[in-house]
């Protein structure tokens, strides 16, 4: 059994598991960290961004034209080109061999078009309905943002190793930029997602008869799940982004993940030192403070997930602070569908939200906020938004990388006033680097990372509870984060059974397949004559033809009935078994005229000495040796006497 670790970022996982005869891809996360090396794409022309100084290394003497590729903002250098993404290492193996892709949550689907399109992939993709719809929204938003303001040219010269090493940090530390890819198209998104088959929680799906895969709720976001991959005698669990906190999704299920042979764990929190509850509080306080001071609040966000919780908590807090009249705007090309879908996925929500449906009420309060006009959502800043816009307000919009999307416009608009605040809640991007191309910025920047996935304490507790025989984790989780080198509590407690992987690793998982289930055809089963070898255990000899089809093994009666007779009768093959009763053996020897018998107990069994025949019989468990100085006749007699004392099958 092998596990290929294709992703360099444990929060954007992508694994391939080769188990039995199947090849299963676990998640397809897209690392968008590379976006931060690019210049933002403004929605309307920005003289500031376009007037940024062109940059080239002082000692550059290469042939490629680099002048138009890099621009400097402060001490940072950015690539002036269409944004590119870091893909999982898909070239490690042939994607056409992948039989099935299991998706855990909508955030782990973003690399899917790179996997399924133009790669020869012809397998199945399994995901829950909310994961599919959420993934679609994220992809559509991404494509919309990137395609809305296309860059004329693509910069590639700067990726040359000679140039790269001359660039300032952090761009010079970019890992393998030559492998970066531009964004896929809407066509690819649709084509890829069309291959997804929707599954429900705890629905058992068979992959070519070899394994059964089951999704169970992970509590992270709507429809998010963990997967258990089970054969008849082995169980592998894949624990992706999970949460034990009480938020809007259905709570995490533990029991399907218990007692696995291998548990692969990924997507732990990226902000282990902060408590999401406290950060929600900080977010609400900062928002209220800014609004009370007459400023605007900008929240770069994804169109789903934690954003729903932010709407809920913030609206309650604004009510309690007397700020009910301040509008909240939600701008995203998929805002409408995101809000609408969230309220029809009741079966995937927490019990509290689910029960609202029977009242009947919308599970999320944002439906009410939209109805009362407190939350206004628009696909973009053009059109009706400009009629409704008023200040001060709270603006939720994407993209959290601040490199494209409507958020770029609002930073340009509000960035010059210290009364306004930008609050970062998403944890995918380091906020200071995200803000770098907008500097100098007077707008206050507040970091309230809200990551509800498991922290190290929760993960360790979960591992103790689930008791996997082997645990597979990223090696990053085995030592404290770089910013907190002394926090030994911020690690996964490892033991010899923990297997750690690095990006690109291929792990041999220590699962020894000992048994395989074989079905016996009823006709053949009826012909068996079992012999009871000990109470409750009976054995029988069987001869048949093993037929293997779709990874199912069936033992059928031999096609030629004669061969059965020959097999058992003509060969006279039978098996002896049981423990030798020494007293019976000695008495049988006496019956055959061997009376001079001395029996000694040895460490391994017994030694029977026949002095008159100068013969020694060593009887041990599983073996008997007759030492009779070449007297073959005596040996055969003794063998026969001994076999008479054993049970026969």
């Amino acid at each position: 059994m092998k596990l290929y670790c294709l992703s360099g970022e444990p929060s954007k996982p992508c694994f391939i598991l080769k188990f039995k005869t199947t090849t299963i891809m676990l998640d397809s996360g897209l690392d968008m960290g590379s976006l931060l090396n690019f210049l933002p794409v403004p929605l309307v022309h920005s003289s500031r961004l376009s007037s940024l100084k062109k940059w080239k290394p002082n000692d550059y003497r290469g042939s490629g034209k680099i002048e138009n590729e890099l621009r400097a903002c402060g001490t940072n250098v950015f690539v002036d080109s269409a944004p590119e993404f870091t893909l999982p290492q898909l070239d490690i193996l042939d994607l056409s061999e992948v039989d099935v892709i299991l998706l855990s949550n909508s955030y782990s689907t973003l690399a899917l078009p790179y996997v399924t399109e133009y790669s020869g992939f012809k397998g199945m993709i399994y995901a829950t309905e909310p994961t599919l719809q959420g993934g679609r929204q994220l992809m559509e938003e991404l494509v919309h943002y990137v395609e809305r303001m296309p860059k004329g040219s693509t910069a590639n010269v700067w990726k040359n190793a000679d140039i790269l090493r001359c660039l300032p940090a952090p761009i010079k530390d970019a890992a393998n930029p030559l492998a970066w890819k531009q964004c896929y198209s809407l066509h690819d998104v649709n084509s890829s997602l069309a291959k997804v088959q929707m599954v429900g929680f705890n629905e058992k799906l068979t992959v070519f008869g070899a394994v059964t895969v089951t999704a169970s709720s992970s509590g992270y976001c709507i429809g998010s799940c963990n997967w258990s991959i089970q054969s008849d005698y082995e169980k592998i669990c894949y624990v992706a982004a999970s949460s034990t906190l009480t938020t809007h999704p259905q709570p995490m299920e533990h029991s399907p993940l218990r007692n696995s042979d291998v548990m692969i764990m990924s997507q732990l929190t990226r902000t282990p030192t902060v408590n999401p509850d406290a950060m929600i509080g900080e977010f609400c306080m900062t928002t209220a403070l800014t609004l009370r001071n007459g400023g605007n609040v900008l929240v770069p966000c994804y169109p789903s997930g934690v954003t729903y919780d932010l709407f809920e908590c913030l609206s309650v807090h604004m009510d309690s602070c007397g700020l009910s009249q301040v509008p909240m705007f939600f701008i995203s090309p998929v805002a409408d569908s995101s809000l609408a879908y969230s309220n029809i996925f009741a079966e995937w929500l927490s019990q509290g939200k689910k029960s609202k449906v029977y009242l009947p009420e919308a599970p999320f309060p944002h439906a009410e906020l939209v109805n009362t006009g407190r939350l206004k959502h628009y696909p973009g800043i053009h059109g009706p938004f400009s009629d409704e816009f008023r200040s001060p307000c709270v603006m939720f919009t994407g993209h959290p990388s601040l490199r494209f999307g409507d958020v770029v416009h609002f930073i340009e608009l509000w960035g010059k006033s210290s009364g306004n605040t930008i609050i970062f809640t998403e944890t995918d991007f380091p906020y200071l680097y995200a803000l770098a191309p907008f500097q100098p910025l007077l707008m206050k920047a507040v970091h309230c990372p809200i990551d509800t996935s498991l922290n190290f304490g929760q993960a360790n507790k979960l591992i103790r509870d689930l008791k996997p025989r082997h645990l597979v984790i990223s090696e990053r989780y085995s030592h404290p984060p770089a910013l907190h080198p002394h926090r030994n509590d911020l690690v996964i407690e490892t033991d010899p059974k923990t297997i750690m992987y690095k990006p690109g690793s291929v792990l041999n998982l220590p699962i020894k397949r000992t048994y395989e289930r074989v079905e016996i055809e009823p006709e053949l089963a009826a012909s068996l004559v079992p012999t009871e070898v000990k109470p409750g255990v009976a054995v029988a000899m069987v001869a048949g033809t093993l037929v293997t089809k779709d990874n199912k093994h069936v033992l059928k009666a031999p096609s030629d009935p004669k061969s059965k007779v020959d097999g058992l009768e003509s060969g006279r093959r039978y098996y002896v078994w049981g423990e030798l009763d020494m007293q019976e053996f000695v008495s049988k020897l006496a019956q055959h005229g061997i009376t001079d018998v001395k029996v000694e107990d040895s460490a391994a069994g017994h030694i029977v000495h026949l002095p008159s025949d100068d013969t020694l019989i060593q009887i041990e468990e599983g073996s008997t040796h007759i030492i009779c100085e070449g007297n073959e006749g005596l040996r055969v007699r003794l063998k026969d006497i001994l076999l008479q004392c054993l049970s026969r099958l």
Partner: protein
């Protein structure tokens, strides 16, 4: 019926006494049909009677008492705790009369009281305990009674309970009885009980597992020592040391805490505070080698578990707080500062090495106790004008408070305690010029505090917003004169944010913010700056306050708004446009909240005082600019009639007349008082005639129903019998409680189901 002194009427009015006796006489005979509560009432009534009247004088009265108590002790009734409580109280009150002790013995009440010494109801236990104590003291002191030697047997019985009973609760009550007895008759007890045996038993009990028993036994030790200071067999200091060495640190420290109480202070000369400080020193890691002192080692050993550590630290902090309240400095400021850091997760300093950190981290009880101590320290230093005693750790402790206050997931009560501490800390810094740049750290601390307060004013928890806005108000009230604080408030927009809190969704916060706005408005610099920053005028502000009075859904906020209006009215320069204010206040007369209405009436009272005041401005103030501000309100040297006319025109008279008919008694009373005073002035000035009340049956003019003119108003107050109304409205509901005749008749009547009167057809 007399309207005054009804309590006395209960005693003196023979008719009433007869009624009460009649009621009580009937109670035992109708007890089978009476509700238990009625019976409880009857016994309590008897208790009230015997408190002032000897009910054992005549055989008839004695019969009433006996019959009542006997009936009460019947199994069915006795199971009711209120009955038991009432009977024990009755018997105790009765003991001051001759022959009562005999009656108590005859009723077998001693046995019942002993049984109830561990009653499930604490009230019954308390009353039984008091009865036994009183029985013994009466037996010792009152030689009139034939059973005066009863105390000996009772003390012996108590002693037996103490020695052999397995009932911990009963033993604890007996210890309490001994505590009371030692105060009064120490020598008598020691005649019956050997002092050595007694102390030995106490010693054993102090070391027992029961916290209650241990505490009561320790207290009794102190009481014993106070009563017998010369007894050398009980050395409190040695006792405390022994307790510590035997692992009973918490008992020893509790004993030390008690020794700090005023009544026991003379028993110890400062050593209890040394003992109390020791756990704090250990917990804070100041003490390195526990082997140096057996005592320290004993304490360290006893607090090796979390629960013990928290308990001992809690007692220790309680003792330190007690000392600080008495104005004594137990010299543990630095240790306290360290302890606070130990409890705080945010603290990354060198306190992490303390092995007790894991016990103390984020323990709200310890945090609160430590903060209370810190507050007391600050107060202590604040009272010291020299400032010599301020420790070096002062600025550090304030910085800790500010740092910790920034932590988002802090408990709301901790935030409140922290803010309470910060107030004297800032005052202290001002008093001793610590805010100057000489102390490098302060500007940073203040800056950080400003930022944190801003956030806290927008906190998720309304309790925190409320505490913070109140804190800003208090800072402004007490320190705004200081330039640094004044600038600090403005720099961090605390004034504008406090104003924004007036619009908060939580009524308590709105109310707190209104009070703070009152303080802020007293400082012109701050107030004017607030209006500039928020781009609002004084009229806008007043209009908003008036809107709160008119429309706010919560009484707290409306009351606070009225208080603010009154404050501004008193200051004389804030309420513009004044006519809108009068109109709103007239409308507020109809408020649903009686406290709001009382506030409104107080406002009108102030207006009347101001308008009718004969005081003119002193000559030196006439030409001052500020004197002109009063011109709109106070007509100078005008005729009295004109002044009354003015009161009518602004709606004051209309509001008062409306309030006279309010459904709230307190409002009617206040309105009557104001109108009575106004009427007296009208009489003095000849606007109305005395005894010229017409018999007009016209209803009083209602508020807003008509345009009140002076003649109508004068006519109205002439018609009103204000003295009678005032007398009626001054009646308390207590008068019915003290004069229960009607009530008693009602109770009895309701029980006479077979009587003919009940069958009367209503039609």
């Amino acid at each position: 019926m007399s309207t005054t002194n009804h309590g006395a009427a209960t005693l003196t009015c023979p008719q009433l006494l007869i009624a009460q006796k009649r009621f009580l006489h009937q109670v035992p005979h109708t007890s089978s049909v009476l509700d238990t509560q009625v019976y409880v009432f009857a016994v309590r009534l008897m208790g009230q009677l015997v408190a002032n009247y000897d009910m054992l004088q005549t055989p008839e009265e004695k019969y009433i008492v006996t019959a009542c108590v006997q009936k009460a002790t019947e199994a069915e009734k006795w199971s009711e705790p209120s009955i038991r409580n009432a009977v024990f109280t009755l018997l105790r009150l009765m003991l001051k009369y001759k022959g009562a002790l005999d009656l108590v013995i005859k009723l077998d009440a001693i046995h019942l009281a002993f049984e109830s010494l561990s009653d499930p109801s604490l009230f019954v236990t308390g009353s039984a305990q008091k009865l036994v104590t009183k029985l013994i003291i009466t037996s010792v002191t009152d030689h009139r009674q034939s059973t005066s030697e009863i105390h000996k047997s009772l003390i012996k019985q108590l002693w037996v309970v103490l020695r052999s009973s397995s009932d911990v609760a009963k033993k604890a009550t007996v210890l309490k009885i001994f505590q009371d007895l030692f105060h009064e008759i120490s020598n008598v007890i020691l005649e019956e009980v050997n002092s050595l045996d007694f102390l030995q038993l106490l010693n054993k009990m102090i070391r027992c597992d029961s916290a209650v028993l241990s505490r009561e036994a320790a207290t009794l030790c102190l009481v014993y020592k106070r009563s017998n200071p010369a007894d050398s067999s009980l050395d409190l200091r040695s006792e405390v040391c022994n307790l510590m060495h035997s692992g009973h640190v918490h008992v020893a420290l509790n004993l030390c805490r008690q020794l700090l109480l005023r009544e026991y202070q003379h028993l110890a000369d400062g050593w209890p505070q040394d003992f109390l400080r020791q756990p704090l020193i250990i917990v804070c890691g100041t003490f390195i080698n526990p082997l140096e002192s057996g005592q320290f080692a004993a304490i360290a050993k006893s607090i090796s578990k979390k629960s013990a550590c928290l308990e001992v630290t809690g007692i220790c902090l309680g003792g330190i707080e007690q000392l600080l309240q008495q104005g004594k400095d137990p010299c543990s400021f630095a240790a306290l500062h360290t302890l606070l850091q130990l409890t705080s997760q945010e603290c990354q300093c060198d306190v992490n090495h303390s092995q007790y950190r894991k016990f103390l981290l984020r323990q709200p009880k310890i945090q609160k106790a430590a903060l209370r101590c810190l507050h007391q320290y600050y107060q202590l230093y604040l009272n010291d004008e020299t400032g010599i005693g301020i420790p070096d750790a002062f600025v550090g402790s304030a910085q800790y408070l500010v740092d910790s206050l920034g932590c988002v997931d802090l408990d709301v009560t901790i935030v409140s305690e922290m803010l309470k501490c910060l107030l004297p800390a800032i005052k202290l810094a001002i008093c001793h010029s610590l805010l100057s740049a000489e102390i490098q750290m302060w500007p940073e601390v203040l800056d950080l505090l400003g930022g944190t307060l801003q956030k806290r004013l927008c906190d998720m928890h309304w309790e925190t917003r409320d505490s913070t806005v109140e804190f800003v108000g208090k800072i402004c009230q007490s320190c705004a004169d200081d330039t640094t604080v004044n600038m600090w408030i403005r720099k961090h927009n605390l004034h504008t944010l406090s104003w924004e809190c007036v619009k908060d969704g939580e009524s308590y916060v709105r109310a707190g913010a209104l009070a703070t706005v009152g303080h802020l408005s007293r400082d012109t610099t701050i107030w004017e700056n607030m209006k500039i920053v928020k781009d609002i005028s004084q009229e806008d502000v007043v209009h908003h306050i008036l809107t709160i009075i008119s429309t706010d859904t919560e009484g707290f906020a409306r009351r606070a708004a009225i208080d603010l209006v009154m404050r501004w009215h008193k200051d004389g320069n804030q309420l513009q446009p004044i006519n809108d204010v009068y109109r709103t206040m007239v409308a507020a007369t109809k408020d649903f909240d009686w406290e709001v209405k009382l506030g409104v009436l107080t406002f009108w009272g102030n207006i009347i005082d101001q308008v009718l005041s004969n005081d003119t401005l002193p000559s030196y103030a006439i030409n001052l600019e500020t004197s002109k501000k009063f011109k709109g309100v106070v007509p100078e040297e005008k005729e009295f009639e004109t002044k009354v006319e003015m009161l009518c025109s602004i709606g004051c008279c209309q509001a008062l007349l409306f309030s006279v008919e309010d459904y709230e008694q307190s409002v009617r009373k206040k309105a009557c008082e104001l109108l009575t005073a106004l009427k007296a002035k009208c009489l003095d000035n000849g606007l109305i005639q005395a005894n010229n009340r017409s018999k007009s049956s016209d209803p009083l003019p209602t508020c807003g129903a008509i345009n009140m003119t002076t003649p109508i108003f004068l006519d109205s107050i002439q018609q009103l019998d204000l003295e009678a109304l005032l007398a009626e409205n001054s009646k308390s509901c207590d008068s019915y409680e003290n004069n229960p005749m009607d009530l008693l008749d009602d109770i009895l009547a309701s029980q006479r189901q077979d009587e003919e009167d009940n069958a009367i057809d209503c039609y």
